[in-house]
C-alpha cells in the first residue's frame, strides 16, 4: 500500500469500498448536523418565548432566563 | 365473565350481519387480488401452480388487513369503546371478543373461499386440505396481531395505511410457515413442523395481543 493510487484502487473494489465508507460518513454526519440544528433552533425559540413572557408580564412568576 | 364475552361477540356479529357488507367486501377483495395474478404472471399452469400457495396467503394477509382498521374505530368514534373500557369485565377479555367476532366475519370467509381460488391457480389437489388447515390456524393469529395495530392507530391522523405499515412485518412469520406448510404438503414432505410452529405463533399471540391492544385502547381513551 505504498502509492496513494494503489491504495485508492482498493484492489479493484474501489467502487464498493469507498461508497460504503462515504455513505456511512454522509448519513452519520447528516443526522448529527440535523440533531444539533434542531437543538439550537429549539433553544432559540424557548429563549424568545421566555423573554417575551418576561417582557409581557414582568411581575408574573420569577424572572430568570434560560441557562 | 363468559356471558359478557359472548354478549359482545353476538353484538358484533349482529352489527356485521346488519351492515352485511363487511365480510362480503373482504372475500371479494381476496378473490380479486388472487385473480389478478394470472394476468400479471401469465396463465401458464406450471408457474401458477408453483406460486399458488404464496399468492393465496399474501392475498389472505392483505384482505385481513383491509378490515382491521374498523375493528375499534367505529366504537371509538361513537363512544362505545369508552363504555366497554368501563364495563365490569377486564378490557383484555372484551378485546378478545372483538378479535373473535372479526375472525368470524373475515378469517372464516377467507378459509371458505380459499380452495375455490386454489383451483383457479391450478394448485395441486393434495394441497387443498393443508391450505384450509394452515389458514384456519394462521388467520386467528393475523386477527390478533392486527387488533394491536388497530388499537394503536386510534385517534391518529392516517389510520389505514399506517396500520398496514405497523402490522405487516409482524405477519411475516405466519406467512412463511403458512406457505411452507402448503408447499411441503404438495411436495410430499412432512408438514408437522410447520403446523406446530403455526400453532405456537397462535398460542404466543393469544395472551400478548389482547394485552397490548387493551393498553393501546386505554391510552386512546385518556
Amino acid at each position: 500500500m505504498n502509492t496513494i493510487s494503489s491504495f485508492l484502487d482498493m484492489g479493484g473494489y474501489a467502487a464498493f469500498v469507498w461508497p460504503s465508507f462515504g455513505l456511512s460518513a454522509v448519513l452519520l454526519i447528516g443526522i448529527f448536523v440535523i440533531s444539533v440544528r434542531t437543538l439550537k433552533a429549539n433553544h432559540a425559540t424557548l429563549d424568545a418565548l421566555n423573554n417575551e413572557a418576561e417582557r409581557a408580564s414582568p411581575s408574573e412568576g420569577p424572572a430568570q432566563g434560560e441557562t | 365473565m363468559m356471558r359478557r364475552f359472548s354478549l359482545l361477540v353476538r353484538r358484533d356479529l349482529r352489527l356485521a350481519q346488519r351492515q352485511g357488507l363487511d365480510s362480503l367486501m373482504v372475500v371479494m377483495f381476496f378473490v380479486i387480488a388472487v385473480v389478478l395474478f394470472p394476468f400479471g404472471v401469465g396463465p401458464e399452469p406450471g408457474i401458477l401452480a408453483r406460486i399458488a400457495a404464496g399468492v393465496i396467503w399474501v392475498a389472505a394477509l392483505l384482505s385481513t388487513m383491509l378490515s382491521l382498521e374498523r375493528l375499534f374505530l367505529t366504537d371509538y368514534e361513537d363512544g362505545s369503546l369508552e363504555l366497554l373500557a368501563l364495563s365490569p369485565v377486564t378490557l383484555e377479555v372484551l378485546v378478545l371478543a372483538k378479535v373473535i367476532a372479526h375472525w368470524l366475519t373475515t378469517g372464516l370467509p377467507l378459509i371458505i373461499a380459499a380452495p375455490l381460488l386454489a383451483v383457479l391457480l391450478n394448485m395441486d389437489a393434495d394441497g387443498f386440505w393443508v391450505l384450509i388447515g394452515a389458514l384456519a390456524l394462521g388467520t386467528p393469529t393475523l386477527s390478533l396481531l392486527g387488533a394491536v395495530g388497530a388499537a394503536l392507530i386510534l385517534g391518529s391522523r392516517r389510520g389505514g395505511v399506517l396500520l398496514s405499515l405497523l402490522i405487516l412485518p409482524l405477519f411475516i412469520p405466519v406467512l412463511i410457515f403458512g406457505v411452507s406448510a402448503v408447499d411441503s404438503a404438495i411436495g410430499g414432505y412432512a408438514i408437522k413442523a410447520q403446523f406446530l410452529i403455526l400453532g405456537g405463533l397462535f398460542v404466543f399471540a393469544l395472551p400478548l395481543c389482547p394485552w397490548a391492544a387493551a393498553a393501546g385502547i386505554r391510552q386512546s381513551l385518556e
Binding site: N50, A53, E60, G61, P62, Q64, E66 | R3, R4, L7, L8, R11, R14, L15, R18, Q19, E77, D78, G79, S80, E82, L83, L84, A85, L86, S87, P88, V89, T90, L221, E222
Partner: protein, 221 residues
C-alpha cells in the same frame, strides 16, 4: 367515613396540566355539581373519577380503597355518560339499551329494567325504532336511559342536559332526586343550572389556576 373521596388530585392531559391540588368528598345521597369555564377540567375530573384517566398525583378512593387497585369493581359501581351517545344506528333503541344493561348489570331482569329506563325518560314509544332515525335529543335520552337500565350507586354525567328540552331536563332532575333518595350519588358537570336540594358545587377555576402557576414556574426553570 365518606364514601367517595379524591385527595390532592393533579390531572395532566397530554402535555398540559389541567388542574392541581383538587380534592372532593361525596357521600351517599350526595350531588356534586362541577362548574367552571371551558378547559378548566370538568370533563377531565369526571374521567378521573370513572377511571378512564389516571391522576398524575393524588388518589381517588371508594371507602378508602384506591379505585385504581380494582378497576373492574369500580366500573361495576358507576355509570359514565360522556359527550358521545354510544348508540349503534343499525340497532334498535331497545337492542342498544339491552346490550349495555346486560354488559353492566348482567342478564337478570334486563328486559324489564330496560323498559323501566325507557319509561323513565319518556321514550318508550321509540323502543323498536332503529337508532339511526333518532333526533339528537332522542339519542341523548336513550344514552341517559342507560343509567337506569342497571343499578349503580355512582352516576358521572358530563353535561347531560345538552340537546335536552325543558321537559327532559325536568325528567332528569326528578330521576336524579329519586336516585339520591335511594342512597345513590351523582357528579354532574353542567353549564345550565340543575336544581337539586342539598347539592354541593365544586368550582374548578382555582385548581386550574394553580396548574398554570405551577407550569409558569417550572417551564421557565
Amino acid at each position: 367515613m365518606t364514601l367517595f373521596t379524591g385527595s390532592d388530585l393533579t390531572c395532566v392531559r397530554g402535555e398540559r396540566t389541567v388542574f392541581r391540588g383538587l380534592s372532593f368528598e361525596l357521600d351517599a345521597g350526595g350531588l356534586l355539581v362541577l362548574v367552571g369555564p371551558n378547559g378548566s377540567g370538568k370533563s377531565s375530573l369526571l374521567r378521573l373519577m370513572a377511571g378512564l384517566l389516571l391522576p398524575a398525583h393524588g388518589a381517588i378512593r371508594w371507602q378508602d380503597a384506591d379505585t385504581r387497585d380494582d378497576p373492574e369493581t369500580h366500573n361495576g359501581r358507576l355509570h359514565y355518560v360522556g359527550h358521545h351517545d354510544a348508540i349503534k344506528p343499525v340497532l334498535t333503541v331497545t337492542e342498544n339499551l339491552r346490550f349495555w344493561a346486560e354488559m353492566h348489570g348482567g342478564n337478570a331482569g334486563a328486559n324489564n329494567r330496560v323498559a323501566e329506563a325507557l319509561k323513565g325518560f319518556g321514550i318508550s314509544y321509540l323502543s323498536d325504532v332503529p337508532a339511526r332515525f333518532l333526533s339528537a335529543g332522542q339519542s341523548r335520552r336513550t344514552s341517559l336511559a342507560r343509567i337506569l337500565s342497571s343499578p349503580a350507586p355512582l352516576w358521572l354525567l358530563d353535561e347531560p342536559t345538552t340537546a335536552l328540552d325543558k321537559e327532559a331536563v325536568a325528567a332528569l332532575e326528578s330521576i336524579i332526586a329519586q336516585h339520591r333518595a335511594a342512597g345513590g350519588m351523582a357528579v354532574i358537570s353542567t353549564h345550565t343550572p340543575i336544581s337539586g336540594d342539598g347539592a354541593e358545587t365544586l368550582d374548578l377555576t382555582p385548581f386550574a389556576q394553580a396548574a398554570h402557576d405551577f407550569e409558569d414556574g417550572s417551564a421557565a426553570a
